[in-house]
Symmetry: C2
Subunit: 408 residues, 2 copies
C-alpha cells in the first residue's frame, strides 16, 4: 500500500475527542478531570475500552500510567516505538490538551493494525498520570517516574490539594498497576501548540525541535512605607517602584534576546497597598523561559545583578522551579518535517513554550513532538480550539512518521 493511500479514520478520532471531552463535566458544565479522581477514572476506562476494541493489550504501571500495546510475536523482542500524552485536565479545561495526542496515537496504531501492516517493533500509546499537576505536584509526574526522574514511591506519596495520597487514590480508582513496560526506542508526542505562532503564521504543522528551559522565582522587595505627599523622591525607598523597574528591565532584556527568551511577571502585590502610602513591600513572580540554557542562565544572572544593585531595598529571592531546556532528537524532527511536506502541509521548526511528557521521555529515548495550531493561542480554557482539518492533518503526519520508523 502506498503511503498516500493510508489515512487515519478522522470521524472516529474526532468523535472520540468529543466523547472524552464530555467525561468529567462538573455541575457548571466545566471539564474537570483531575488526576486520579472519579472523573479521571471514567476517562481512563473509556480509553482502555477503545484500546481493547482495537485489539491492543493494556498495561498499567505502578504510578498509574496506562500503555496500550500492539505487539506481534515477530517483534516482541524489540524496543517499542511509543506515542502518547495525557488525559488528565486542569480545572475548566478544553478538550484537546493531552487527549488529542493519546487518541491520535491510538488512532494511528489502529489504522496500521487495520491495514495489516506489521511493524518491526511493538507500537504503544501511553496515557501518562498527572501531567497537569493541578491536584498533585510535580506536574508531568507519570512520565517523570517512567523516565526514572523520581522514584515510584516518591510519586505515590504525593499529597493532593485535597490532602489525599496519589497512591491511595490510584488504588481507589483501580489504576494502581504493577506492569513493566520496556524503555522505548523512540517517543513521539502529538499536541496542540497552546500558543499563537502556527495560527498567526498560517502554518499547519510544527516540528518541535526543543522545549524551553523554565526558571520560576518569587521576588520580595522591602523598602520603607512613608507618606506619599511628604516624602521627597530622593528620600524614598519605594518597593513598588523598584518592582516596576525590575519588571521593565527584565522585559526589555527578553524582547531584545535573539534566543526566543520569554519573561512574564504574572502576579504582584504591594503592601500596605494604600493609594497615599509608599509601598513598604512588593512581592512578584518571574516566569523566565528560554530554549537555550546558556541564554537562560545569563538572564538569571543579569536579573540577580540588577536586584543586588537596587539601592535602599532589601531583596529576597525564592526559587520556585527550574528546568533545563530540552533538545529533541534531530532525526525525528527531520522525519516530522518530511512527512508534513509529503502530505502537502506547511511546516516549521519550533520551540515548545509549555512543558510536556515528551521532555521526560527525552531523558531515556530519542523524542520529538508534533504541534498543530491553537486558535488564538488559547489553552487551559474552554475556548481552547483546533479546527478539525488541523487535527486530522496532525494525526496523519504522526501516522506517516510512525510508518516510516517502524514499517518501511
Amino acid at each position: 500500500m502506498a503511503l498516500s493511500n493510508l489515512a487515519i479514520d478522522s470521524d472516529r478520532l474526532l468523535s472520540r475527542l468529543k466523547q472524552l471531552g464530555e467525561i468529567g463535566r462538573d455541575g457548571d458544565g466545566r471539564l474537570v478531570r483531575l488526576a486520579a479522581s472519579d472523573a479521571d477514572k471514567a476517562g481512563r476506562d473509556r480509553f482502555v475500552a477503545w484500546a481493547r476494541e482495537a485489539g491492543l493489550a493494556v498495561k498499567v504501571d505502578r504510578v498509574g500510567n496506562i500503555f496500550a500495546l500492539w505487539t506481534e510475536s515477530e517483534n516482541a523482542h524489540e524496543a517499542p516505538l511509543m506515542l502518547g500524552s495525557h488525559i488528565d485536565t486542569v480545572i475548566d479545561a478544553g478538550i484537546y490538551d493531552g487527549c488529542y495526542g493519546v487518541l491520535a496515537g491510538l488512532e494511528v496504531i489502529a489504522t496500521l493494525k487495520e491495514a495489516r501492516l506489521t511493524p518491526k517493533r511493538p507500537l504503544v500509546v501511553a496515557a501518562f498520570t498527572n501531567e497537569e499537576g493541578v491536584r498533585f505536584s510535580p506536574d508531568m509526574m507519570g512520565s517523570l517516574a517512567f523516565a526514572g526522574g523520581i522514584t515510584v514511591d516518591e510519586a505515590l506519596a504525593a499529597r493532593g490539594t485535597d490532602g489525599k495520597l496519589l497512591g491511595e487514590e490510584l488504588a481507589r480508582i483501580g489504576y494502581a498497576g504493577s506492569d513493566d513496560v520496556a524503555r522505548p526506542a523512540a517517543y513521539i508526542e502529538l499536541h496542540i501548540e497552546q500558543g499563537p505562532v502556527l495560527e498567526r503564521e498560517g502554518i499547519a504543522i510544527g516540528a518541535v525541535e526543543n522545549l524551553q528551559g523554565i526558571s520560576w522565582q518569587r521576588i520580595t522587595l522591602e523598602g520603607v512605607a512613608n507618606h506619599a505627599g511628604t516624602t521627597p523622591m530622593a528620600m524614598r525607598h519605594d518597593a513598588g517602584f523598584a518592582a516596576a523597574s525590575v519588571i521593565t528591565f527584565l522585559y526589555e532584556r527578553a524582547k531584545a534576546s535573539a534566543s526566543g527568551t520569554v519573561a512574564t511577571v504574572g502576579t504582584i502585590a504591594f503592601e500596605p497597598n494604600a493609594i497615599n502610602v509608599i509601598p513598604a513591600r512588593s512581592i512578584f513572580t518571574i516566569d523566565l523561559r528560554d530554549p537555550d540554557e546558556t541564554s537562560l542562565k545569563s538572564h538569571e544572572q543579569a536579573l540577580a545583578d540588577y536586584l543586588n544593585a537596587l539601592e535602599g531595598i532589601t531583596v529576597s529571592v525564592e526559587r520556585l522551579a527550574r528546568f533545563e531546556p530540552v533538545i529533541f532528537d534531530q532525526g525525528l524532527v527531520r522525519e516530522i518535517g518530511a512527512a508534513a511536506k509529503a502530505r502537502g502541509h506547511t511546516v516549521r521548526r519550533m520551540t515548545s513554550g509549555a512543558g510536556h511528557d515528551a521532555q521526560m521521555l527525552a531523558r531515556i529515548a530519542p523524542a520529538a513532538m508534533i504541534f498543530v495550531p491553537s486558535i488564538g493561542g488559547i489553552s487551559h480554557n474552554p475556548k481552547e480550539f483546533t479546527p478539525d482539518a488541523d487535527l486530522i492533518a496532525g494525526a496523519n503526519v504522526l501516522l506517516d512518521v510512525v510508518r516510516t520508523l517502524s514499517i518501511r
Copy 2:
C-alpha cells in the same frame, strides 16, 4: 515685656498633649478618635474645658467646628486672628497630628492673656470637624465648610463608613452648634511635618510657603491573557508590563522634576494573577503631587500621552481627586521665618506634602503654617513622634508670630 521674656507654659502644653492622646483608646490600646464619635466627644469636651479654664468663650458652628475666643471690648469689632487645626484622628493614630496645633494655639492665647497683653484683634483657636476624613468624606470638611467650599447642609448629609449621618452624629454628641464666627484676618496653623525633611536636614522650624496640589487617578490597563511559555514577546499584550512601564516613566519624570513633584503608585493588582499567565488586566493608582499647578498639569498631560501611546493596550482612567496647589501668604511666611530666627532656631521655607485645614482657610484669609520635625517622617501611626524641645520651639514661634501680628 520684652519678646524674649515671654514663653508658653511648656509643661502645661506637653501634659495636655499626653492627656488628649489618652482619650479615645480602643480595647487594643489604639488611639481611634474618629470624627463625631463618642471618643471625639470626649476629646472635644476636654478641649472645651481647657478653653473655659483659660477664660475663653466657646462657640460651636453648624458643622461642629469649635472656636475658643478671647475677645476684649476694645477689639470686638475687629476680625479675629485665628489659630487652629483638628483633634479628630485616623485609626491607630499618633498623638501629635492636629492636636498639637489646637493645644499650642490654646496655649499661645492663654499665655498672652495671662501676660495681660491686650491684642488689637480677637484671638481664636479652632478645632475643625473631620479633618482626617476617615469616617466621613471629604476630609478637611469642617474647614472647607467654614471657608464656604461646601454648604453646611452638604456637610451634615455626609454618610459615614458606618452608615450614619454626620448631622445626626454631631447632634448626638452635643456638637451641632449654631454659632457664627467672623471671617478671620489671618490664619496660622502649627503642625508636625509628617515628613522627613526637617529631621534629615537638622532644621527645627519649617516656614510653610505652599501646599502641594494633588492629582489622584486610578488606571486600568487591559491587554490579553496568554500562556507565559508559548506566547512570543512580540505577540504579547501584557497589561502587567505596561503598568510597570507607566510606573517607571512617571517616577523617572518626578525624580527629574525641579518643582518638588512626588509620584506614588501605592496600589496595584494584576488579573488573573497567575505565575504562568500573561496579565490581561492591571489596575493601579497614581498619587501625583506638585506645589506648582503648571508643573502638575504638565505631568498629568505627559502621563496621559504615555498611556495613549501604549500599543495593544486599552486604557481607562478614573479621576479620584484633584486639588490645585495652595500658595500661602508670603507676609505671614516671612514673619514665621523671622520669629524662628529671633528665637535662635534654624528655619527653612518648605512645601506641605499633606493636606491641612490651612489650605481651606487660605481661600478666605491670608494663611500660613509652621512645621516642626516628625522623627522618621512617620505619621498616622502610633510611632508618630516629635521631641518635646521641638514642640516647645514651635509653640513659642507661634506665640511670637501672634504677638507680632496682634499686639505690637
